[in-house]
């Protein structure tokens, strides 16, 4: 599959990426650049509030990430955002109620918990390409069921009311969550080839 060509209608969009201590910011910015979209990495409340779209990325540990967000009152800001917001990987997990990772209380946007994979029976972290199915919402518009995306994670979210895509690593779990203006994806769309680019483009088009 060829990557998506730059999308003209995105050219003037302001995309803000939340700056904190657990961001895989470069990769997300690169992916947006390939879509022809400029983005700004910031923890400035006003800039985040006024952006057209907000991306909340994340690679790292839940507890220091939450501490950092709380210290800068980014926790309150993120839950109050009204434009479309996309959490990626740890970003999505932090949008749930809590994480088994150091028993961290999280933002509580999605009413579900983050659990640790059983390393007795599975290779943990799950690293690699896995499929997504039971796709719901416009985030997956134009994508086929069982499309492949790239995952790197040790913690996961069970199927819940807010689940908008599922995947399976021995047990089925949430590949993506959605509620009102908030979306979260467990996989890395910025590293998921043409499928990932389509998901990012769909998010920008919300």
């Amino acid at each position: 599959m060829m990557p998506c060509p730059p999308q003209k209608e995105f050219y003037n969009m302001e995309v803000a990426i939340v700056k904190y201590n657990a961001g895989n910011v470069e990769s997300v910015q690169n992916a947006l650049n390939r879509l022809g979209v400029k983005s700004i990495v910031t923890d400035d409340h006003d800039v985040l509030r006024s952006a057209d779209r907000v991306i909340f990325p994340g690679v790292g540990h839940a507890q220091p990430a939450m501490e950092y967000l709380i210290e800068r009152q980014l926790d309150k800001l993120i839950i109050s955002l009204e434009q479309p917001v996309l959490g990626i990987c740890l970003g999505m997990q932090l949008m749930c109620t809590s994480s088994e990772e150091a028993n961290t209380k999280c933002l509580g946007i999605f009413d579900t918990e983050v659990k640790l994979f059983d390393s007795e029976s599975l290779k943990v972290p799950q690293v690699g390409w896995n499929d997504i199915y039971h796709l719901k919402t416009n985030l997956f518009r134009g994508l086929q069921e069982n499309s492949y995306v790239y995952y790197v994670h040790s913690y996961y979210v069970l199927i819940a009311a807010d689940t908008i895509a599922e995947t399976s690593y021995t047990l089925p779990y949430s590949a993506a969550l959605g509620k009102d203006n908030f979306y979260g994806v467990q996989f890395h769309p910025e590293k998921s080839g043409a499928v990932g680019e389509k998901i990012l483009a769909n998010f920008l088009e919300q």
Binding site: M1, S27, R34, H61, G128, V152, E197
Partner: protein, 252 residues
């Protein structure tokens, strides 16, 4: 289902792609960024860049290259070669590498693996092992690009390294590398069954059947190859179609 991965490897010297045949007789096979984009578009699941530059300018050139690759491709990539400190790793990850692979420096100082995995997470620390089967039937670890024998068994080192936080093993069989006679199934299988982390098999790919065998019999999580891809002896889309028809979980 989690897929088996196909990983082209690009050996880099002074910013250009090279491939050693049995670690010698290096030939130029093109511009790394251009090749990387081609592989990504063809369906490679991941890429590995192994820097074999020895000059003092090495790090700067490599960082520039990593930046260009990260901007150009939409799949994950690993960078390895001469990595010996947290600072090296931080720079590579900051500039867009998804993972780094460590080899000789980690063997000489196993604590490095612990340091790197706690600082950056196990998921981005790949331990590369060059191994050779000797007359006694055991596989031993070799260092410095295969030039230095250690007398330590590959399985022992791999288990120790995973205990210290290595998130993945990139296992290269020196007996098979460059021979195009197939991957080393026995040692790959031994590691894949005993370790709780993914094992990438490397060395010996010559035909599509070799990939099938290393996944089905060798139980590898991923298979890495270089020259057969660089010299277009096997096209990635054909390989993936073949493996899928052989009932192997592959991203098409």
């Amino acid at each position: 289902m989690l897929c088996k991965r196909i990983i082209p490897c690009l050996d880099i010297k002074d910013g250009r792609t090279v491939k050693g045949i049995n670690f010698e007789n290096i030939r130029d096979a093109g511009d790394p960024v251009e090749l990387a984009v081609i592989y990504a578009n063809e369906g490679a699941d991941e890429l590995v860049f192994l820097d074999i530059t020895a000059t003092i300018e090495r790090r700067k050139t490599l960082i520039e290259l990593v930046k260009k690759i990260a901007a150009a491709i939409n799949i994950p990539f690993t960078v390895g070669g001469g990595i010996s400190s947290s600072e090296d790793v931080q720079l590579l990850l900051q500039n867009g590498a998804d993972k780094v692979s460590v080899n000789t420096a980690a063997f000489k100082n196993p604590e490095l693996i612990k340091e790197l995995s706690s600082a950056f997470g196990s998921q981005c620390i790949v331990l590369a092992i060059d191994t050779k089967k000797e007359a006694d039937g055991e596989w031993y670890v070799y260092l410095n690009g295969g030039r230095t024998r250690t007398g330590v068994r590959a399985i022992d080192w791999a288990q120790q390294a995973v205990g210290l936080g290595a998130g993945e093993i990139l296992l290269t069989s020196m007996n098979n590398d460059g021979t195009k006679s197939g991957f080393a199934q026995d040692i790959t299988r031994a590691l894949a069954t005993r370790l709780p982390v993914p094992v990438i098999a490397s060395g010996g790919a010559g035909t599509m059947e070799h990939f099938r065998d290393i996944f089905l019999s060798g139980l590898a999580d991923a298979a890495l190859a270089a020259s057969i891809f660089h010299y277009k002896e096997i096209a990635i889309p054909d390989l993936k179609k073949y493996l899928s028809a052989e009932k192997i979980d592959i991203r098409l």
